[in-house]
Each structure stands twice: as C-alpha cells, then as structure tokens.
Symmetry: C2
Subunit: 345 residues, 2 copies
C-alpha cells in the first residue's frame, strides 16, 4: 500500500476478516515460543510442558452493548464469557482473566461494583482467576478490554485449519436465540422511547433474552470428547454467526461445506420470535451471532460415538474446496452461505 | 457496598489506584498456575519450567493520545512500548503481542496500515511477535487494546513488593521529558487552533517530543543486572509518574522513602522546556508520567557495582514505613511526595 499516493480505501471494502488478514499478513514470528500466532481463536505459546493460550477482546458501548437494557452485572458476566469462549474454541481450559476498563466520570463506584459482580460470578462459575485489573478514564463510552489466559495439553489443542473433506460438521447447543433476544429487547426499547410510561413485557422470551444478556459456554464438551476418545480435526467458537464462523474454518482448512437446513438446532422460543419478525428461523440461526456455541469437525468414523453426546448435533459435512459453501434445503435446493461483513463488529 | 441504598459514590473519591484495589480485592485465585494475580505490573502464570507474564492495556483517543499531533505510525509504536513495558517491569522478556482495535468508519485502510507500520517496527526492534489481531467497529474514537506476553526465569522474576528499608532506589534514563514534550505539542496546537496559517516550530524540542511520541524502553537493564549478579528486591515501570510509581512500590513493600532532589536525572532539554513553562524541573520529573523508565531497589551492598552500570542512577533510599514518602531538597528540607489521582488515566 503506497501512502504517498494518498489513497483512501474505505474499511468496508475489506470486510472484517479481510482487514484482519490484511494487517496481520506481515506477522512473521521470530520467537520459538510462538507456536501459533495470528489466525486462530487465541495465540498459542509453547511453554514447554504444555501450551498457554491467550486471547483478547474489546467490548465497546453502542457496538457490543446498550446500557439501556443491559444490566451492568450481566455485562460483566458476558465480557468474561466472550473472552474465555476463545480458549474453549481451541479445546483449552480457561484459567486466568485480565480486565481493563475505560470509564467516564458519569459512572459511580457502585456501578463499577455491579459490573465486577458479574465478572466475579462468571469467574467463579468457570473456575477462572481474575489476575489483573486496570482502569482508565474515558471521554466517551464504557470500554472493556478482556484478556483470557488458558492452557491445553499439547496433544489436545485443536486449531481452525485441520478440517478435511467428508469430515462431519458438529455443533453444541442451538442457534439464533441471542440474536432474537436482542431484537425483542430493541423492539421494547423503541416502544419505551416513544412512550416513557410503556412497561416492556418480556414474558415468553426469557430464554432468548437470557441467551443475549447472560450467555453460558459449553465447557463440558472438551471432557466429553476426551472421554469418547474423539479428537476433532478443527474447532471454532460461534460468535460472528454460524455461517461466518464455519466459512472461516473452511477457508483456513481449504474445504467447502454442506449444511442441512433441517439439522440446524433451533430452540422453540427462537422459532416463535423469528415468526413474529417474519423471518425464516434459519436466517438468525446462520447469521445472528453471539451464540457462544462450539463448532467442530470430526472424521466420519466418529458418527456413531457422537450420537451419544448430549447437546451435540451433526449439521453437515465438509467437501472439497471447489464445491463452495452451501445450505441444503429440505427439497435439496442449495443456497450459498455468506460471511458477515465489517458492520457486525 | 449495598446497592439497595442507591449510593452514588463518585469514582474520584477513590483515585485510580484506590479503585483498582477496591474492585480487585475479592480476587482469590483458585488455580495453582496463578502464581501472581492482581497488584503487580503483569499477571504471572506458573508454566512449569518458567513463568509466563501477561499484561493488558487500553489506549483511548482523547485520553491517551490526540490524533491532531500524533502520527498513527508513532501511536502504533507507542502502544507496543506501553504494553511490553509492563513485562520489562518484572525483569521479564516480552515475546508476543496481541492488538485489538476499535475503529470508526472515518478511518481508511491506509491509516490502519500506518498504525500497524508502527506496531511492526516496535515489534521488530524489541524482538516481539505479533501473535493476534482483532478489529471491531467503534462509534466513538479510536480504541487500542494491547496485550503483551513475556517470560521470566523463575529465579529472575522481580515483583513490586520486595523492597526493604535502607534499599537503594535506582532508576534508568531520565524523567519529565515526555510530559514536557506533550506540553510543547499542546502549546503549538493551541496556537494553530487560533490561527490555521500558524506553522508550529518544534526545533530545539526534538528529544522531549520524541520521548512523548515515540518512547523507547531500557530493555538492556535486565541483562546488565544479571551480568553484575544483582537481583533487585523490587521493580516497576515508571508510567504514572516517578512519585506515584515509587509510592506504589513503598505501599506494597511496606516501606517509606527518601528521594534526593539533585539526584533525579533530568535532560537539559527537559530543564529548558520546564523553565519556559515556569516550572521547577523536578515537578514534571516526579509527576509527569509516561517516562517508560524502570525504577528498582537493591540492597545497599550493591552500591559500588551499580555505579558502573551505564544509564542507571541512584536517587534515594527506602526507609521504615512510618517515615513516609519525601523528597529531600538541596538544603535538607523535606517535601512530601504525592501519588497522582484518577484524572491521570
């Protein structure tokens, strides 16, 4: 890129993943301890006996959360989930957490306490130690920087780039709930904005709202796979959307994929909310994001064993790369899957 | 803190360090690998053969940098320095770096390239691998989250809390330059704001402006101390100001201190600029911040050896805690040292 020509390329021309690839393509590790640098969920440090995994995330007010309907305690909880999700995504175990806060003077100490209550709650639930905290003043919104540190046995680390054609595509949990929870919260907020006496009624949406505000992680997966003697060929956490994250694995592994419409796990509450918004539930399930589930691939031979793992579903299979990325509908029609762009954050 | 009473305590009541202590005092590590959690420059993970150090920092537009006079390349460079400074501050060696960017759509790809040029330059100079990069959109200013990962031999790690009364207080480099560089830049900016045809003249201030915009780190110190067989009793990087950071070591070590006015190393350009702003140069040297030098303490017996280390000066000594924190002027008058408050960021 020649700056002297004063080129002005808008960031949207690259898309989020394109931009990350563009800025990190000059990263050439020189330290022998850098086992894995850019391109996966977390950086992997070879610490001799085992791998240390480190991942960092930014949560920005107005982009990742809206304080109008996000209780600070939930926000603190979700910040931890978001960070340690990247460690789970490499089949690792999260151990420590560092939190850096940018806070404007409009915040009170009691509010910061509330945020940290959520941080401590999530740390306790997932066995993670808060090992560093920093605060700085902010001129604008609330900014949260979260760094998760974890570990993995050398033989159990799973990367994004190891999937092979014919491997089964498996997922934990269900999809689209968090996105639709957010749509419900946004709908009620708009009504409240118009009429301040309006009382939001969230009854019947408890599950999808909880998935949006206080998500949990499928941390049991790592142990379940180990007990079954299954080593996945690739793994990623689904935070940008099932389609985006699957395509990410495909691109890094050099495969295509087929996902079957009727195999995508979707909760009944998600289906009901999708109907209200006149959406095919597969759309939020594929493109919604913030599911904090795990997607992984395994060789075909494990199909039988996988059936017995609770909470895991097989949704499709990898193909050779030239076959592209497609959703297969019930009548066999193939619809191309698309990755999300820059706008998603 | 009882939220039900709806208390509203302003953050400034606590001060920056008070707030950090307040929010992290519930952090009780449960993982055996968490060798050192909150309270030092970096979190320390026991990785078996050696320690892994991890530190994270937030840089926010308008608080930590002003893009009017900060070239993006310098900003990228300084972000790296800021992060790896925390690793040096524990006598460790920085190895990897993760960068998370929050960028508004007003930025172009060329500008992000420029920022990363600085990141790569600093990584190359300090032998650090860029091992992770993430980007997200931002509604407000530019936000940079930087996480540095380093390592230390188990016997060479130095914490903040080991200083003893009578230990010598030693520092690398000189102080106050970065703060005065910033004052010069601010002065010229204000003149430019009044009259857009004004051409800032920065001649004669090159050194102090470079200390502000493109600081370097005294990474050679760790090796020099090792060669001399000196193990410091405590160590910290001076980023919040010499007085603040020294008081921090004193509080954690349970000591008081005496610093001698005429021993504080101050560059001649810093003295000249201080004079222009009608400041005693000791004031920016003690309270300016962003010096990115190292402060450490050693037992008295090493006084002779220390004299031969280039770039290191002895500026005072630790005392018993009840003697407080004081600057000793040339005529023997004692002036109390103060830590900076919340405002400093």
């Amino acid at each position: 890129m020649d700056n002297s020509e004063n080129k002005k390329t808008p960031i949207r021309n690259y898309g989020k993943f394109g931009l990350i690839e563009h800025i990190t393509d000059k990263a050439t590790p020189v330290n022998p301890g850098t086992y894995l640098g850019v391109g996966d969920d977390a950086a992997v440090i070879d610490a001799g006996e085992r791998f240390i995994l480190v991942s960092t995330d930014l949560l920005l007010e107005g982009i990742h959360f809206n304080l109008i309907y996000t209780p600070l305690k939930h926000l603190g909880y979700k910040a931890v989930i978001r960070a340690i999700s990247d460690i789970c995504a490499m089949n690792g175990i999260a151990r420590q957490l560092l939190v850096a806060l940018g806070i404007s003077t409009r915040f009170t100490v009691e509010q910061i306490d509330e945020l940290y209550e959520g941080v401590y709650l999530a740390c306790k639930k997932y066995g993670v130690d808060l090992a560093g905290g920093d605060t700085t003043s902010s001129l604008t919104g609330l900014t949260i920087g979260v760094t998760a540190i974890g570990e993995a046995e050398k033989e159990s680390l799973v990367k994004r780039d190891g999937a092979k054609p014919h491997d089964l595509i498996c997922v934990t949990g269900n999809f689209g709930a968090s996105y639709l929870g957010l749509q419900i919260l946004e709908r009620e907020r708009k009504l409240f904005d118009k009429d301040r006496t309006f009382k939001p009624d969230l009854a019947g949406y408890e599950y999808i709202i909880e998935r949006q505000l206080k998500p949990e992680l499928p941390v049991q997966l790592s142990g379940q796979l180990k007990d079954m003697g299954i080593t996945p060929t690739s793994m990623i956490d689904v935070s940008d959307g099932l389609a985006s994250d699957l395509i990410h694995v495909c691109r890094l592994s050099g495969t295509g994929c087929r996902v079957f419409y009727d195999k995508i796990p979707i909760d009944s509450e998600t289906r009901k909310a999708a109907e209200e918004f006149k959406l095919d539930p597969a759309i939020p399930a594929l493109n919604g994001g913030e599911d904090y589930e795990i997607l992984f691939t395994v060789p075909l031979e494990f199909a039988g064993k996988l059936k017995s793992i609770e909470n895991v579903r097989m949704i499709g299979h990898m193909t050779s790369p030239e076959k592209g990325y497609f959703l297969v509908s019930n009548d066999g029609t193939e619809i191309e899957l698309k990755a999300q762009g820059w706008e998603k954050g």
